[in-house]
Subunit: 442 residues, 2 copies
């Protein structure tokens, strides 16, 4: 089964809204084992829509349209489907009743006059009630081809798709015989080109199992997608590939799927042994029990604390965060030595370490993190460029300082610096001092 | 001039990512007066891409492709453009040098071998340096048609579009005769339904000038779009509508266009008089000079400090942030009274105010902000639901505490709370004590 999506709406072509429907339907179709080769967006123009529909019939089995079902003259999807399939546009009394009920439920006694326009559908079409809005979903058969016309607002489209479209496709045996699963392996501390070099031969692993590389700022995802005729075979294939990836990229892998770096670090502090933390780091942080963290931030301005506290339950291990933007705060609150600031500058290895030690002492936490740098766009000096960041971790028996250089806007530098800092925590005590390999991915 | 966009990437057809590039380019093209009739998404499949390119040449003057410019074998955009335009795929030494420099700048001495793949372009093509990533933007002429091949990551695509593509289109006289401008009026402290009620009659202002409502979490945007044949007429129309909106929604408007709430608050602290700050608030903060801010956060966990420090130059007015997650930190560092925590609880008006005063005292800042609440999903007690947040502002002569209730996930509650806190700073000393009208938009 081959499907394609035609999104209808001038507002999409003007960029007023982002087409999240296409992404939603695409994801669902992949999981249903239905191949999708095209997404097309057309404005509220009948001639262009009719021609796009005809092209779709020539190359796909199922066509999904989204949008253009409203009550105004701009809403042309169903009339265009009629033109493309040579069907009559007919009034449906039952739909009109549904629409009237919809308005009554919302306290409007009289149905707005234009609303009845939404009771017209192609002759012979099936329709699905819309419990959120007024435009029903419509299913039109055209020879061997099937067209689903779905409303544009995601909160109307999604329920109709889940409640009506998926069961229909399954009942008619139109879904793939295949079971498709995905697993995302999350990597930090290595750029895309490096990851690519290491896994290149796996990228074309086979027709049933594929590996994709996706890049985020400061992170790389490897996504395994596998399909097979039974669930166990899929799991087995994914496991096999994951094992090989872990063998090659082990220490750079911090988690899978929806796990965030802050979640993994939190688990480690909470005394668990997440897979994404090196075993020596677990030993260093202490296996025996729960540890607490305190953070002193300069250039990241609270972002690391914010990420740590995005994890529910973080109050158990996060003791304190200090955003010490000024030298005054660094000296008075964190006990950073004035002399060091004068000698080495506020952005230096020595100050980062003093910050980590200072916040550890102040909060009586087990681990202190200190970070200082230049987020830009101003603040660079002769020897210290924008993006230069020092990150220090101090435990009872451990101290590490890393020097990093990031590229990007102020917010991008902050984000990358926070990721590198969380990664240094993840690998606590296992990383030798020195320059950090982190830099912007592209 | 007719344009169309072809987005390339199997990840789009699998729904792994949402196509924000198409929305971005569409919006920009509308502003340039270039008509856009089609957006198409194709997977990493050369045959289908070549056929989509040929179709695009048959109906459009300018074709934009996005994505598929990476260093891997999956990246097929430029080789497909070569096939569709009968051009040779050639190695460009200058591009290779740029890529090598990109890696050097990031501290990698050796360029990964595959990276050089990105130095291939169609023979005779122009290219635009990518200052963020490694894939250059490319401009290919094919008879009367023009193709721009742009990289997929938005942070690479946008700078190339702004710096290279727009000037090129303007220079070649390819932009439209209509001048279209937009202005966004940014509103905080009022939900969509309320805003809608107040401006409903303006929504259908006329064919040349339109007003749209766009909702973000905790904020509402009113977007004015106007087109005319000369720039002055457009400005006049926008100004007229803006004036009417300001008359009706005055105190809820904090800024326009790209101004963020933290930017406006920063400007106010820096001694400026931004339009989005009530004049009494300016008087309260003191017109005469620059003021400093310190923040004590509990439930927002550093998010407010992070937002404040996202503004370049914030080091001038932001003295210190304390993330006092634990009662211990609240008492020892901020001097919150133990008795009050016991009597009223850590999430209370009294503790919020003590936090604001405490951080003001500790940092010697002019203004202290304190915030405490329950971000969830755990932590609710009988009388204190998830989403309950107290926000306090303390100046030399001012103190205000607001009680708010937000709905949403942990991160959504944190975001709304940070917005309400920044808004309270914006209106410093002009808001009566009591319950806060902020709540989740829907």
């Amino acid at each position: 089964m081959r499907a394609e999506i035609i999104s209808v709406g001038t507002e999409l072509l003007l960029g007023h809204i982002v087409n999240t429907n296409a992404a939603y339907l695409s994801k669902k179709l992949a999981l249903l084992g239905i191949d999708l080769y095209y997404q097309t967006t057309i404005g509220d123009n009948p001639a262009r829509l009719v021609s796009a529909l005809k092209q779709a019939f020539s190359r796909s089995d199922i066509v999904f349209t989204t949008g253009g079902l409203g009550p105004t003259v701009d809403d042309i999807t169903l009339s265009s489907i009629c033109s493309a399939t040579f069907k009559e546009f007919t009034f449906n009394k039952k739909i009109e009743k549904c629409i009237a009920r919809h308005f009554r439920k919302r306290g409007l006694k009289k149905m707005p006059r234009d609303a009845a326009r939404q009771a017209y559908i192609p002759r012979g079409a099936c329709w699905f009630e819309n419990n959120v809005g007024t435009a029903p979903g419509t299913l039109i058969e055209h020879g061997e081809k099937i067209i689903f016309a779905l409303p544009g607002p995601p909160r109307e489209l999604i329920p109709i798709f889940e409640k009506n479209v998926i069961p229909y496709l399954k009942k008619k045996g139109l879904t793939g015989k295949w079971i498709i699963k995905t697993k995302t392996i999350k990597i930090v501390g290595l750029v895309e080109a490096e990851v690519n070099k290491i896994v290149k031969d796996l990228l074309s692993a086979g027709p049933a199992t594929t590996l994709g590389i996706y890049v985020h700022l400061g992170e790389v995802d490897l996504k395994i997608t596998s399909k097979a005729k039974d669930g166990k075979a899929v799991e087995r294939e994914i496991k096999k590939l994951e094992k090989e990836i872990r063998k090659r990229l082990g220490k750079y892998i911090y988690g899978v799927d929806s796990e965030s770096l802050e979640y993994v670090v939190g688990k480690m502090l909470a005394g668990k042994r997440p897979k994404g933390v090196p075993s020596t780091a677990i030993k260093n942080i202490g296996r025996e029990g729960k540890k607490t963290l305190a953070i002193a931030e300069s250039c990241t301005g609270g972002l690391i604390a914010n990420r740590i506290t995005n994890v529910s339950g973080s109050s158990k291990y996060f003791k304190m965060g200090i955003v010490a933007y000024s030298n005054e705060a660094k000296v008075n609150l964190l006990g950073v030595s004035k002399g060091k600031i004068k000698k080495y500058g506020a952005v230096s290895k020595q100050v980062a370490l003093d910050m980590a030690k200072g916040v550890k002492r102040l909060s009586k936490a087990d681990v202190g993190l200190g970070i200082t740098g230049i987020a830009g766009p101003k603040g660079a000096t002769g020897k210290k460029p924008i993006g230069l960041v020092y990150i220090a971790v101090a435990g009872d028996k451990i101290k590490t300082v890393k020097k990093c250089l990031f590229i990007g806007s102020r917010e991008e530098i902050k984000l990358q610096a926070s990721t590198a800092a969380l990664d240094l925590l993840r690998k606590i005590g296992t990383v030798p001092e020195g320059d950090c390999p982190y830099f912007s991915n592209s």
